[in-house]
Amino acid sequence: MFKKCTFKGGVHPPHNKNRTEKLPIEIFPAPEKVIIPLSQHIGAPAKPVVKRGDYVTVGQMIGEASGFISVPIHSSVSGKILSVAPFPHPLGKQVMAVEIENDGKDEKAAYKSSENPWREIAPGELIQRIQSAGIVGMGGASFPAHVKLSPPSNKPVDTLIINGAECEPYLTADHRLMLERTEDLLIGVLILKKILNAKRCYIGIEENKPYAISAVKTAIKKNHYDKIKLVILRAKYPQGGEKQLIDAITGRNVPSGGLPMDCGCVVQNVGTTIAVRDAIIDGHPLYQRVVTVTGPAVGSPKNLLVRTGTPMKYLLEACQTDMEATKKVIMGGPMMGLAQTHTDVPVIKSTSGILAYNKTTPGIREYPCINCGRCIQACPINLVPSRLAKFVERKKIDEAVEWNLMDCIECGSCTFICPSKINLVHFIKLGKVHIQAKRAAAASKKQ
């Protein structure tokens, strides 16, 4: 009936989704204090438009976009601003953030829900509304959505792909959204389709989410959305990677160093699509998202609807996590998520999950590389990760460039599979730093 699409390479980590996949999304109450970073997206950080002592309402803009590749930031609670200062950020470096004391009133800003039905609004206006709602890719990369939706005229886009793969183990946030807000998802898809004027439109879901598949299928049938096609994907990591998804569904390749729009595709995550629908229909800016809190150290895992800026420790506490036994906290999934230095960091727009482990995960004995080639088989980009790692280790930057180090998507498949337990991805990330430094030096020398 449906052809199961997939890509070349990849690995099969254990799914570990069973603890949360059947749990409905719970609303997590807004905490007493939120810390909202002004940089929750790729691109220029937002400029703060509030100052200490100001009173803000839920959904009020607190940081304005400072360029095309930038989005505004909105308050997620109502209350007084305690400070605008650098705070720890889940991505590592400290960034400017707005600290807001929640007065518990949840006063909402006056949302401007449109008088016109969305079908009558011009695409340009829709894109503008998406940007001002602060919508970014919520799968993890947090690329501003409006940028993807405005391809330059020399790069025509004919295909819209909605990413419901959720290939990262443990995470079930997108899965729950697809189940609980199926209709809203489809409306979001139609809005995106209208904006892009795409000829084809696919929703890709991994085969290990049969309930989501049937829900989406029924909804499509019921509403006669004939233009939206459901594609069942093989359960394989990293099926949800943009490039892999495009390859699996359309057979096209994103050119090296390019964007999906270079091959006529736009990929949006399920969460993003629903956020687009909320922004256009309800006029809601993006200030909350669904987060899966799970992991071996979590006592009762949950799917939670969380305000951005909520420190992670509240979520972990709410899910009965034994903090004494917790050895590692990860934002995102176990394959690409970022280990956190501490739990005071806030949830941001791209936090799809919070995992707590009671073991320091690798901690396995490292062996020398035996050239087994597992990493090559696993690499969805067809790189030679083991060689790249050695080049970086020996500081052979030119060779690393020659062997396409910059094309690595850091999916972690090679490291997952490596029988020598070498952290190849870490070397490759380091290599990217070296290469960028070298390029910067070369560029400055030229001038």
């Binding site: 590592g92 470096k93 230095t341 070397f427």
Partner: protein
């Protein structure tokens, strides 16, 4: 015949090829600048790359072609620069010899860490993961990226887990400065031995929470330096090495002990018999109780208190004070 034939053959072969080569060298002559090899002979040939060219030969070529300055060879210092300038027939402005210093001393015993780092032993790699385990966002990570970058083995990680420069070996090439992902290494003139060993721009109250030798921006050092050679910039003192100032007092006054002094033993002041006991020196001395003596009698310096800042020297109207004992550099 027995002898003449061999002589003739070798001779004629020699002559034939000799003439051939002579003609060829005229006809096929291509000019190459002999100065390149001359300069190459002078260069240290460490191929450290501090000049920004691929190896010493690349630099020699660039100098002759006028693309690089004669002073470009940093490890070679003034000696090499002069020699190159001689070959090229130009005069050159000489740089002061510099050395690298690490602006952090908060090691395992002084600075707290959020977490344990588990990964590649390289500062750049650690910075990629949560900006490193240290709470201080500008503390030395001690994973040795600068050590690997140094072509002269002049940097090492000390027992406290902090990078340290050996002033004797450092040539001031600046490779470590570029290598450090925290940007906490800088070059200072080699004659100065005192620098601020902290790079943290946080407010004092915050710094105190996680580092016992962090700069709390108390500005005592600024106050202790009337010449104005220290200024506060973004919660951190900036030392102006171009001023006539030894910074000893500032280093002494720092309550968080975040100045580093590479001189192990500073010279001590000594008051000779010319002293008339006016007490001026006691008034200017930054150290409490370092000078003793009744007004009108000869004053005495307490050697264990004197920090050797030399302020008293100028205050003495009879020129009775001098500094004794040479300073030696900490190895």
């Amino acid at each position: 015949m027995e002898i003449t034939l061999p002589v003739l053959i070798v001779g004629s072969v020699g002559l034939f090829f000799g003439i051939g080569l002579a003609i060829a060298s005229k006809k096929l002559h291509v000019f190459t600048d002999p100065r390149i090899s001359e300069i190459l002979n002078i260069l240290p040939n460490a191929n450290c790359g501090a000049c920004g060219y691929p190896g010493c030969s690349g630099f020699a070529k660039a100098v002759v072609e006028g693309k690089a300055e004669p002073t470009g060879c940093i490890p070679g210092g003034s000696k090499v620069a002069n020699a190159i300038a001689d070959i090229l027939g130009v005069t050159t402005l000489l740089n002061e010899p510099m050395m690298a210093v690490v602006h952090c001393k908060g090691g395992k015993n002084e600075a707290l860490e959020y977490s344990d780092y588990d990964g590649i032993t390289d500062c750049n790699a650690a910075v990629l993961i949560g900006n490193g385990p240290k709470i201080c966002q500008s503390g030395c990570l001690g994973l040795g990226t600068c050590v690997n970058a140094c072509p002269f083995n002049a940097i090492f990680i000390n027992n406290n887990g902090i990078a340290e420069v050996d002033p004797k070996k450092c040539t001031g090439c600046g490779k470590c400065v570029k290598a450090c992902p925290r940007n906490i290494i800088s070059l200072i003139p080699k004659v100065h031995k005192i620098f601020v060993a902290c790079s943290n721009h946080d407010r004092g109250a915050k710094v105190k929470k996680y580092c016992s030798v962090g700069c709390t921006a108390c500005t005592l050092c600024v106050k202790a330096t009337p010449s104005g050679a220290i200024s506060m910039e973004n919660n951190l003192p900036v030392l102006d090495y171009s001023r006539e100032e030894n910074f000893i007092t500032a280093a002494y006054k720092c309550p968080s002990n975040c100045f580093s002094d590479l001189v192990k033993f500073r010279p001590k002041a000594n008051i000779d018999t010319k002293c008339d006991g006016c007490g001026e020196c006691v008034a200017v001395c930054p150290v409490k109780d370092a000078i003793e003596g009744e007004k009108g009698t000869r004053h005495v310096i307490k050697k264990d208190r004197c920090i050797g800042c030399g302020i008293c020297l100028n205050s003495c109207h009879v020129h009775a004070i001098s500094l004794w004992g040479a300073g030696s550099v900490k190895s």
